[in-house]
Assembly symmetry: C2
Amino acid sequence: MNAVDRWPPVPDGSPFGVANLPFGIFSQPEPAARGGFRRIGVAVGDNVLDLSPLFGDDCFAAPTLDGFLARGRRMWSGTRARITELLTDPHYQGAVSPHLLPRSEVVLHLPFTVADYVDFYCSLDHASNVGRIFRPDAEPLLPNWRHLPVGYHGRAGTVVVSGTPVVRPSGQRRPPGAETPMFGPSVRLDIEAEVGFVVGVGSPLGEPVPIEAFADHVFGVVLLNDWSARDIQAWESQPLGPFLGKSFATSISPWVVPLEALAAARVKGRAQDPAPLPYLRRTEPWALDLSIEVALNGTVVSRPPFATMYWTPDQMLAHLTVNGASTRTGDLYGSGTVSGPDPSQRGSLIELTWNGTEPLVLADGSTRSFLEDGDTVTMSATAPAADGTRLTLGEVTGTIHPARPTP
Amino acid sequence: MNAVDRWPPVPDGSPFGVANLPFGIFSQPEPAARGGFRRIGVAVGDNVLDLSPLFGDDCFAAPTLDGFLARGRRMWSGTRARITELLTDPHYQGAVSPHLLPRSEVVLHLPFTVADYVDFYCSLDHASNVGRIFRPDAEPLLPNWRHLPVGYHGRAGTVVVSGTPVVRPSGQRRPPGAETPMFGPSVRLDIEAEVGFVVGVGSPLGEPVPIEAFADHVFGVVLLNDWSARDIQAWESQPLGPFLGKSFATSISPWVVPLEALAAARVKGRAQDPAPLPYLRRTEPWALDLSIEVALNGTVVSRPPFATMYWTPDQMLAHLTVNGASTRTGDLYGSGTVSGPDPSQRGSLIELTWNGTEPLVLADGSTRSFLEDGDTVTMSATAPAADGTRLTLGEVTGTIHPARPTP
């Protein structure tokens, strides 16, 4: 039992206020009571609200959000409304308090089973920077870029929860000027600051999801770090795209913030020229005013503004399914690296250091072009909440461990 | 109960002999006894052997092979040995016969839950043909091609079982000479004849699977048709690879043929020059002498020989995991289009018709550059079996249904 001296149980200024209420999966470490039992919790203040004893519904005693996600929008909304009631009406304080567990005492897990993972490339500033770095004498954007949200499938099985160590990948790369590739640990290990969208309700094969049905399918958002080995990626990617340069790990934040919590963060979205084809025309404002922060060993190195994205998540889902591809509970799609127009808003090291030519200087005086062993990257984000406060998406963090010895 | 007048219950010349014994998931249609109950069966002769009543093991009463696949190589081998004994020793005829159900009377289902789906590009002749078609004035193979098996992730959720209708996908394409894209049904719908490999036992994050451990992880093979909308693919694929041009459907055969059944089909594999990096060096002969046949509306249009592949499946798995990517039960990886050196051995229409310039003539006198609505494509394959007969991988078939109306 946890002492709670105020109701709602939220310290002043907490970004986990009652306007946030993100969902996740937690357990209590051994040898605590019910140790190891994974179940659904909602973050509030400094605590996790243990839903399973409060709701007479097995779906909250599950080790993933999958069952809850599949129930659909009315269930999501009704559950959120009931939790809000329980946490704000003083009448419930006595009954609810025993189910508030200090967040510092629980372990957080991958919140859902990742079905298919798609990664998009939706930031105009990111795509333009990449074009300028790799094709300095050509038009930065490729001909298709303003007509569709470019995307590709990534590896669902290596999506890991925040905190999971990231072992530096080994692979083939071709050093500059070399004829043939060499094998060894990546020497250009990078990050990509992204926002991920979690599909709750799937869609059948052959039936595109119309753009206006976005919120009937997508439950919420996570932060996502699409770790990228630029040297492996550069050598392998022609003609079929990234593979091992990305598939070693993709980290996501443990809390899934419901779209409903982001009502006050919804903005119109960047103007699009040319006008998208009809199936991609926005019907509602689904750009999101999320302020992302990227810290490397504690030094904030970037502040990407998600509101500057060219393609919005409703457009991404409409595009992903326009060919009739089905979707499933647990599908995850990433926005692609979030970069804003200002150099301080770039969401990857390759942009921040302009392909390694302008190293970053960290607070300890050291410099970085790409990640070194032992480096820790932490991304966090906040957004305006409906009650006038700011809410947090939590954080996604990971530390680079040395490559395993080459066999 | 099914009348079986010989033991083993295999008609002369059947490619489903006791040296084959592929695994699948079947049910009996309503209103038959146990209608709709999906469970594991093994194809033998013209029947399916219903394993669940014969083995006192719940894993055979499951609606997918997943549990069986996860058990590992000793279990796979022991089960196969026991089934062989049951089907060959006349002593068992009385006990086993009631569990032989005519294959014509059962429905076959997707045999396993597809975890991650990867598609490779391992045929030298296919990659060379594609290079010659799209880059006629350049070296057909890109610089990386002979150094690694090029691959990328596809959509696991749209892998479907043979017989599932394939709805013509709609999407963006840019007609030749046009500045901007248009939206509509694909007009260049193609096939890719491939062999798929099914991972039974996964591997942990951070631990590459050494090439010699291939058969400890991969249970068996399927035939795979990687349906491809060439016009959608061409417009969307830069710079991140294929996406909607492939993700609308990938069909696999319902029977998974165990690697163990293919012992007599194992051959040394095509010589590789330059020698691959150490992690890709073959330690055992895992090229497979499979003779594939592709029929379009009943006319055989190609006979791709799988033994001509440049990269072999043991190399594919070693590459897929060399960066530390984990694998899971149900991971599926395709070989890429199988094309042999002869024009009659090309595994896609884009090669067979040389990008539509040399249409195929079918038996009914009609011609095809790409697929038309109503077309049926059926791929099958045979291989030498250990008992001197030929075994079959079964078939993967699909019929093109018209595109849905553009919204």
